[in-house]
């Protein structure tokens, strides 16, 4: 059972918006994590772009390491480690990787940066992935009755 946390969610969201703003104002870049990771994998672009992406990802990883020590609750309640649970995690990962590259963005690129620009594509994508995510949880929890 998760509790409603409007204040910390609003504060954390504002930091995410601030981070995206630093990338936009200093680098002229959209802060889409799927895009930054995907372009890093493809090795596209100039050396400067590669350095910028690597620096961002190193910063993100440093935050993950630090939070683990100072605020482990950020990661609490991991899923089941049964074989079925692990297969589900892997399948979900493949769908997220393929889908975000085919659809040109994820929660940050479309949901935060795109909506802030009032991009029609990003609004359509965000409504679609929210609806698909909601439908998936509905089927898993209320049709199949799997408690996750």
């Amino acid at each position: 059972m998760e509790t409603f946390t409007p204040i910390s969610s609003l504060v954390g969201g504002s930091l995410i918006g601030l981070a995206a703003s630093v990338l936009l104002l200093f680098h002229g870049r959209v802060a889409g994590i799927a895009g930054i990771l995907g372009e890093t994998l493809r090795g596209d672009g100039t050396r400067g772009e590669g350095v910028f992406r690597a620096a961002f990802l190193v910063g993100l990883a440093a935050a993950g390491l630090t939070l683990r020590v100072v605020y482990p609750a950020a990661f609490a309640a991991a899923g089941s480690s049964s074989a079925a649970g692990l297969a589900l995690v892997a399948g979900a990962g493949v769908l997220v990787g393929y889908g975000t590259r085919l659809g040109s963005g994820c929660t940050s690129g479309h949901g935060v940066c795109g909506i802030s620009r009032l991009s029609k594509r990003s609004i359509a994508a965000t409504l679609t992935f929210m609806a698909a995510g909601g439908a998936t949880v509905f089927v898993v929890r209320h049709v199949l009755g799997v408690a996750r």
């Binding site: 409007p6 969610s9 609003l10 504060v11 954390g12 969201g13 504002s14 995410i16 918006g17 601030l18 981070a19 703003s21 936009l24 104002l25 680098h27 002229g28 994590i33 990771l37 995907g38 992406r53 620096a55 961002f56 990802l57 910063g59 993100l60 990883a61 935050a63 390491l65 939070l67 683990r68 990661f75 309640a77 899923g79 692990l86 995690v89 399948g91 979900a92 990962g93 769908l95 990787g97 393929y98 889908g99 975000t100 659809g103 929660t107 479309h110 795109g114 802030s116 620009r117 594509r121 994508a125 679609t128 929210m130 698909a132 995510g133 909601g134 439908a135 949880v137 898993v140 209320h142």
Partner: protein
């Protein structure tokens, strides 16, 4: 032309790294890095937790101000251009991709940013998720190359 003197390069690297740290801390504080919280947000007909709507409000509220500022400028302080995504139609790859992403998000409770953050924190499930996500990305890159080769 992007400035390439050592001071500008240093500012570019440090600001990108700082953005990564801020982004990660924001994800952690907001609850986005907890799969159970994401799933509770998506579970509208169950024990719904609307917190993540507040994450979106905070992020969009701050970022749309930056968009307004950026739109009025020709160049970044470092001399680079703004790489605005080109306006394009809502097409099938966009919607199919977003739908597949949504299904994966609803199954795992992780999207790319929180997955990377969790993997860096040492969470085994997040590391597995990231490996699978990278595989999914590489599959899409390969199919995009084949499509490009066919149409050229």
């Amino acid at each position: 032309m992007m400035k390439t003197d050592s001071r500008s390069v240093l500012i570019a690297i440090l600001s990108a790294a700082a953005a990564g740290v801020l982004f990660g801390v924001g994800l952690g504080i907001s609850g986005m890095s907890r799969p159970t919280k994401v799933l509770a947000f998506l579970d509208v007909t169950g024990a719904w937790d609307p917190s993540l709507a507040f994450v979106m409000m905070g992020a969009i509220g701050v970022h749309c101000l930056a968009v307004v500022v950026a739109k009025r400028r020709e160049r970044t302080p470092l001399g680079g251009i703004f790489h605005w995504p080109k306006p394009a139609a809502v097409d099938k790859p966009l919607l199919v991709g977003a739908a597949l992403f949504g299904v994966g998000w609803g199954l795992g409770g992780l999207c790319p940013g929180p997955a990377l953050l969790g993997a860096a924190s040492g969470s085994a499930a997040s590391i597995l998720f990231v490996v699978a996500m990278v595989a999914g990305m590489l599959v899409r890159h390969a199919s995009a190359r084949r499509e490009a080769a066919r149409s050229s």
